[in-house]
Symmetry: C2
Subunit: 265 residues, 2 copies
Amino acid sequence: MREPTSAPDVPNEGLLDRDVLSPKVPSFSPLYQQIKALILQSLKAGEWKPGEIIPSEFELAARFQVSQGTVRKAVDELSQEHLLLRRQGKGTFVATHSEQKFQYRFLKLVPNAENTALSGPAHRTVLWCKKAKANPDIAKSLQLPLGCSILQIRRILSFGCVPTILEDMILPGDAFKGLSAEELQNHQGPTYALFEKTYGVRMVRAQEKITAVHPSPEDAKMLNINDNTPLLQVERVALTYQDKPMEIRRALYKTEHHHYRNDLN
Amino acid sequence: MREPTSAPDVPNEGLLDRDVLSPKVPSFSPLYQQIKALILQSLKAGEWKPGEIIPSEFELAARFQVSQGTVRKAVDELSQEHLLLRRQGKGTFVATHSEQKFQYRFLKLVPNAENTALSGPAHRTVLWCKKAKANPDIAKSLQLPLGCSILQIRRILSFGCVPTILEDMILPGDAFKGLSAEELQNHQGPTYALFEKTYGVRMVRAQEKITAVHPSPEDAKMLNINDNTPLLQVERVALTYQDKPMEIRRALYKTEHHHYRNDLN
DNA sequence: CAGTGGTCTAGACCACACT
DNA sequence: GTGTGGTCTAGACCACTGC
């Protein structure tokens, strides 16, 4: 991409030059942004799988014909977005929900200070996993055609034997073909790790909308509470690469012994 | 701090060398971290006030005897933490809650999609602002001695004439001496901007704990709701430089027409 | 030891804002 | 034009990991 002319410091020869990198990236953006987009493409295409090491900064620099510093800045941003994970002395790895560091990073419900007994991993109880058709709301949220096949999953998460979260998940049927209640119940580690490993769907970020609600009588029974108990309703849309929505989740959080923790920066 | 010996590239002469910068920064940390700490000290000391421009990267580099790139990395991190604000072509400025971009950045309650009428700034109704003594909980949270003087403020925030947030704020009496209900009611812009301008207290980050609750009968009256309405209870601790807590806030959010929005990355 | 990411420098040029 | 932040390069050395 770069052909030094006379001086030893030609950072960029102009706008047109940049387009040769790839027609898919915008024509006017810093070089490192284009490199970032290219790495992103490789990630999305599955050239490097979650948990795997990616080429060293110098290798990537050679491949993209830019300096190592430029690759560095691209990788910096990607690792800040939790798409890559740098490990000094080892290399740079594709981030994964299996990683200790990133496990349950989307779950903001934590036990209140007084209850240390409730920490540790949740116990899952999958109530069902059934096929359905996308209604207008779901089709819009998942950017699917109306009536498209989806999966509906309901489960309960318990901490220290106390049922605490009642969760309804909606997944596009195509991407998760074959997913069963048994698999959801019995797999090891986070559910998002299962999605990565078995279905090649890596959730990259998510948006949540939180309100306070009362449970329906049926939901109250599931959580073993009075139907006059105030609960957090957390509606999540989880996104994969390029902000494509791949999951809708509506959860009810019991906040008797827990709270939703958020850090504002 | 740097004295090139023979080669034109001596990034660092060793650990001891670094201590001459300042005895207050840890002895082993990258140069740019020390620069960051020094800039932070100047910010805390008020050398540059919120909204003011700080010296250019080259000036800071000369002052600290490091290269511009090293200053750059320090400033990069500070502006990522919203302590500084870079503006290409203009300079780097001390971030402020008066800034459009940062106004209400700690307020995550947003109107539901269907209600555009409810956006826009909130209307404040200050119910009281009175002096009190810190009880054990407050003393611990604000890191003050027990019985220390504090200010207790209660107010209602309304969106489009609908009372939506009932808020109790607790401030250390020393730092906010003279703060009155009138001032809280009548000032322009965000309350955190008032704290900056008049009391020199800049809130840098905050932590929130969210639960679902029912209001007390009195609180329900204030929000003009049934006392069986589920509400979000948002407990916030706001921190100034060096993570010193300077405010406790307990708020009740009505989520009939709004929701708490959170982006997970 | 070699290989990787992490830090630091020096210098050049680009993009933007103001005068 | 001047000055600011923003990008890019090339090269050196440091810190960490694992052979």
